[in-house]
């Protein structure tokens, strides 16, 4: 973006620029301070966290909470690492599946003109209108009928449906903007419609697919209430439920909880920061484009 400023409006522009800077600073503080406090607390000992006025900076900083969580030889560490692995597995699987399901559906909604296309498209979007709580008991019963109770399969199936509406919508916007002529050219060269889709359209929609995948992954990684209801086995819990275990009836360990919250956030934050440009690009080229 060029900053071609005519002398006439320099004063006005400066004012706006300063207002923008101040606003941005405030927003950065609003965003960062809670996370900074989380980190500072996680380096304190159990008692040091319980002081008023608080220690603004940990007087005796310790990595004890992290050591406890990451040490597979003690029970906390073993549990935490297992929950972590479970979350990773469930999130990855539901991400892969939601891409597999969403891509052809979005393509079909964008390109084909089968009867009921609109109706089906909107009914997929409607999934988001239903609050999760409403579905808990019936889905629990259904999972039992499907033999999925207490398995990661029940979570993967459910999470799949969370991500789908936005994924299909996002990808459809993307395909709408890929010129049809590209496919036509391929088909003249002898490719089938499916081949054209696979070889021409899919590669062009990689940013959209990545965006969809990130969205699904974050949703699955952070989901709480279905995991809480469906999984009764300790060794199959996912992280959001697992970290509640650090608050059983008898005692509160705030530094431990903050350390767990921090470590639970790391994978999704790293993943997102690595791939965010695709996310923005997908939105720009697909969904919000005019």
């Amino acid at each position: 973006m060029t900053d071609a400023v005519t002398p006439r409006s320099r004063a006005g522009i400066d004012l706006w620029r300063w207002a923008g800077r101040i606003f941005l600073t405030v927003m950065l503080l609003f965003t960062l301070l809670p996370m900074v406090w989380m980190l500072l607390t996680s380096f304190k000992s159990g008692f040091a966290a319980l002081q008023f006025p608080p220690q603004w900076w940990p007087k005796e900083p310790t990595l004890a909470s992290y050591r406890k969580l990451l040490d597979p030889t003690n029970s906390v560490g073993a549990d935490f690492l297992r929950f972590f692995w479970n979350s990773l597995f469930v999130s990855t699987m539901s991400t892969i599946l939601s891409v597999i399901v969403a891509v052809p559906a979005a393509y079909a909604f964008s390109r084909f003109d089968f009867p009921g296309r609109k109706f089906l498209f909107f009914s997929v979007l409607l999934r988001n209108m239903f609050p999760a709580v409403v579905f808990l008991v019936p889905l629990f019963i259904l999972m039992r009928l499907l033999g999925l109770m207490n398995t990661h399969g029940s979570l993967i199936l459910t999470y799949l449906t969370f991500g789908l509406p936005l994924a299909i919508w996002l990808l459809k916007g993307f395909y709408d903007n890929i010129p049809y002529q590209l496919e036509q050219a391929a088909r003249i060269d002898g490719a089938s419609r499916f081949q054209a889709f696979l070889l021409i359209v899919m590669p062009l929609s990689v940013p959209g697919i990545i965006a969809t995948a990130i969205y699904s992954f974050i949703g699955a990684w952070n989901e709480y209430i279905f995991a809480y209801t469906f999984i009764n086995r300790n060794d199959r819990l996912t992280l959001p439920i697992g970290i509640q275990r650090f608050f059983s009836e008898s005692s509160s360990d705030f530094p431990g909880l903050m350390a767990a919250s921090f470590m639970m956030s790391v994978p999704v934050v790293v993943l997102f920061l690595m791939l965010q440009r695709y996310f923005v690009r997908a939105l720009t080229e697909g969904a919000v484009k005019h």
């Binding site: 159990g46 008692f47 629990f140 005692s251 360990d253």
Partner: protein, 495 residues
Amino acid sequence: MSQVHLGRAIRRGVSMASIAAALAVWGPASAQAPIDLSKWSPEYVRSIAGTQDYDTAADCAKVTPRDYRGRVTFWYQGAFEGDPDLLRQYYRDFFAEFRKTYPNIQLVDQALTYNDLLDKFRTALLGSAGPMVVRLQILGGVEFASKGYLQELKPEDIGLKTQDFWPGAMKSNMWKGKTYGIPTNNETMALIWNADLFKRAGLDPDKPPETWDDVVRYSKEIKEKTGAAGYGLVARKNAGNTPYRFMPQLWAYGGGVFDESAANPNYSQIQINTAASKRALQASYDMFVRDKSVPVSALTNQQADNQPLFLAGQLAMMISHPSDYDVMHDLRKKATGSDAQTAQAVIDNMRYGLIPKGPDGKRAVVFGGSNMHILKPEYVDGGKVDQPAAKALVCFWTSPEWSLKMAYAGSNPGNLNGFKTKWMKERLENIKFLDVTTSMLPYGIPFPTIPETPEIMNIIVPDMLQNALTGTMTVDQAAEDAAKKIQNVMRGNKL
């Protein structure tokens, strides 16, 4: 340390197994003198502790042979990270010992947290996906019995006698004259206070407040003179901690939800809006609103939030289990540097006493604990209950030995014969304040044994407290509102 004890215990147990088995043929357990509840006192408990040996494996072998081949699924409130190491060690030992005794029974055990267990169990039952055996808090048993989920189960079914358990504990397993479970442990709490804060507030550091009115007064003085919170009020909703701490106060003032504190309650008359009940609510109001002498976070607090406050020297009094003594010791062990000193200071200043009385001298505490239940096959995942395997597990946990050990740090054995074991003697020596909580047992009042109790205790009572304490309603209105809600619950379908 418990490891060593256990190793010794097992060796002795094994060597004595044959003798005990031989004895059992000639002198059945019924020949032993039963516990005399009329003589109950700390001295009596001391006098019977360590007077009797039990061989759990041999006793349970009479219910289910040790070579029995089978499978049992089991849910219970487990010991987690926040619990004392000692307790967690006993839980591990229990399952190891059971598996050793019954090598051919496949035990699938699932630990759940205190606040999850009821929710999870209810959901599982809706989908007929329950475990064969469940250990539930006392509050839940009647609800599930009344809905027909549980099998009849009484102590005699596993070779014990009904007289071996507290009458109050048995009552919490009864529905329409039939018994549906066996107590594992009985809890009565006590008052814990910080002597140092008492001293600094000019109060006698070694005497607890005599009445609840004194609690209000002490709390105010402590807040004014030391800045620390006085009494650890908790009023969080959907957490069992709240009724466990409010009901003793309600009963002491002469109130109640129904007539549950009477000798033979029939739960027909709602009493939560009587003048006496309102006085109890008023006392909480005075502490929270008028004097601001309790933790500011009381409305979202549960007991777990009081502990750190107490440890940090910012809370002077709270109602709690004897296990808190152990919790503090654990925390001290894990603390480093200056933390260790702080913790030691708190432990040195920790005092236990009886729960305060009401204005008319009435002392009361919630008779808490847990029970073992066996489900009907149609509600179990897989549709079958392996009866002998299930009974072996129930027998094991409710035996004198394990009902004591599993309650070692926190409460009292459900099986009264547990008081006679050598582990009880050891426990009396190790846990400084045990006398107080055993002394509280006779004052224990069970929650109403009706299916509506969980909703009343976990939702309506905390709601009443919150309505009054936040000023959403006056004390009067809050009590009347609660009475109306209880009536709606009892009638069935109103909110």
